[in-house]
Amino acid sequence: MIASAFGVLFDGFAYGMLLFLLSVGLSVTLGMMNFVNLAHCSFAMLGGYVAVSVTNDLGWPFLVSLPVAFVAAAVASVAFERLLYRRLYRATDLDQCLLTIGIVFISVAVAAYVYGTIQQPLNVPSYLRGTVSVMGQSVGVYRLFLIGVSLLVTLLLVATLEYTRFGAQVRAAVDNQRMARGLGINVDRVFAITFALGSGLAGLGGALAVEIVGLDHAFAFTYLVYVLIVVAVGGLGSIAGSFVAATLLGISDMAGKYYFPELGAFLIYFVMVTLLMWRPLGLFGRR
């Protein structure tokens, strides 16, 4: 009983960490510019496919494919931001939703065209496979790796935010955009960089996701819902919020699937709706 509870917690936490990587970028950029980028998971999907191509076709090591996925997603996001998103910063929520949903549709179709609709195989190196014994419990090595990477990323994010000048600018821009501009902060540039970083992280998440949840052409859609839940529940513009919400969601989902399989996804949606009703701005939201 305890063993399975631990297993649920561990797997749930790992899944949550994956969701965190996928969501944190969206939370911060939504909080900063109020730009509803529903195509965020398309960048994640791009990262996933890049990692797959790089390891399978180019034969590069898996660990190298991770930063490559990050960079690919970041670069792609810069292109989109320049060409399309920039025109809609002052458009309505609805228009931004629609534009970015259109991009999701396109990305899903392109992925299906290029890679087909089947799940992508990924050759994870042998030292990341199998299980290891931690405190008498058997845990998956890959999941441990995933947690490690995510925590490292979290530390880097928090350190950047707290201790660098750029981080201070980001915090100011999220808190009060008008005032930040008034203080001479180039909010547009801060946003562009943050957006690239956030999309890059999503790409990294996509690459890491292949082994855990699988990658197919519908990834951009499937995980959009989860990412939106994390962002809405965690609160816009909050790294801590995304972290907590992602963990909560990951564990609830795992627990739901394990203990109440008949309920399916019912539990997460229910948790989300109730949490949002209690706190419409999210757990850590401020606006």
Binding site: L30, V36, L84, R87, L88, A91, D93, L94, D95, C97, L98, L99, I101, G102, I103, V104, F105, I106, S107, V108, A109, V110, A112, Y113, T117, H217, V225, L228, I229, V231, A232, L236, E262, L263, G264, A265, F266, Y269, F270, M272, V273, L276, M277, P280, L281, G282
Partner: protein
């Protein structure tokens, strides 16, 4: 105040809501499929149903400004209610329709209390969440809904005791078109009423409404319920004319599709949903041979193009070409 001076604003407002010749021509044209394309009446029936569904979304989105990603909940709820009533032995279409409409309306009314309390992202997420919840529940309750196989054994009796639903679609289209027209008249009246004006006020500036003494939540609950009834009727029509109900009627896919359709035609313009439905359904029918992935590619591109170049949909674009007309949009 001379009576002639006071009559001018009255006349202006009357002129706003008068039936335009183009509208009358449009509704007469809806009879053409009986004559011109008798092989496509089932499709025409589907278009009418989708148009009704899009119209119901327009009431909450185009006029009250509520972005809903879960409107299919009411469509599917109406569909399953009508289907179950027929399956359980009562196949009379009209009464089944009314019961389904009432059921969807009740669901709409209950959920409207939640909806009316939120705005922005929280509202979008809650509509999404509620829709997903209902879809999941229907999936799990396969003893009731038939699950992934859909509802079996839906047998409809003759409409008005005379007209059988058949594969030719004559009855289906007549039925759907008549219901669409009736509810269109209702929607038209709602939009041109003081209540419709209040809805536009909420959409235009929600902050100003309490400052003029308006209780916006009550207005939102009311329009949401009306929209749920209309969506439920559309769903019921689908169940009755096709004699099947599937989980797809409750899906996020359907909620997203109807949103695309409405935006394509132009939200807040009364006919936008109908125009969007016609274009979307005809295109999908003509292109149905093509790989579904290509369909989504083109829909995605269309969406991006519409947002950037035609932000008010097709009707909005047309309206810009005809500046003389001032429509109450």
């Amino acid at each position: 105040m001379t009576s002639s001076a006071a009559a001018e604003p009255q006349r202006y407002l009357e002129a706003q809501i008068r039936w335009r010749p183009l509208e009358i021509a449009f509704w007469l044209a809806t009879l053409l499929p009986f004559v011109l394309t008798p092989n496509y009446l089932l499709l025409a029936s589907q278009i009418a149903i989708t148009a009704l569904f899009a119209l119901s979304l327009d009431l909450i989105l185009g006029y009250a400004g509520i972005v809903s990603l879960g409107h299919a909940a009411y469509f599917g709820f109406g569909s399953y209610t009508a289907g179950l009533i027929a399956k359980w032995g009562w196949g009379e279409p009209l009464t089944g329709l009314i019961i389904a409409a009432a059921a969807a309306g009740l669901l709409g009314y209950l959920t409207s209390f939640i909806i009316a309390r939120f705005r922005h992202l929280a509202l979008i997420m809650i509509t999404l969440g509620l829709g997903l919840l209902l879809a999941e529940a229907a999936n799990s309750a396969s003893w009731l809904t038939g699950g992934a196989d859909g509802l079996q054994g839906v047998r409809m009796w003759k409409l008005l005791g005379m007209f059988q639903f058949d594969l030719f679609g004559t009855t289906a289209y007549s039925y759907s078109l008549a219901v669409l027209f009736l509810l269109f008249l209702v929607a038209r009246r709602v939009i041109h009423s003081p209540f419709g004006l209040a809805l536009r006020g909420i959409r235009e500036n929600a902050v100003r409404m309490p400052a003029i003494g308006a209780a916006s939540p009550a207005h939102i609950r009311k329009v949401y319920t009306i929209a749920a009834v209309m969506a439920g009727v559309a769903g019921a029509l689908l169940a009755q004319t096709t004699e099947t109900v599937s989980l797809e009627t409750l899906s996020f896919q359907r909620s997203a599709d109807v949103l695309v359709i409405l935006i394509l035609g132009g939200a807040g313009r009364l006919y936008g949903g109908i125009v969007g439905a016609i274009i979307y359904m005809v295109a999908r029918d003509q292109l149905s041979g093509i790989n579904p992935q290509y369909w989504y590619f083109w829909i995605g591109t269309l969406l991006v193009a519409v947002v950037i170049f035609l932000p008010n949909g097709i009707l909005g674009g047309l309206a810009r070409l005809m500046p003389a007309r001032r429509s109450p949009a």
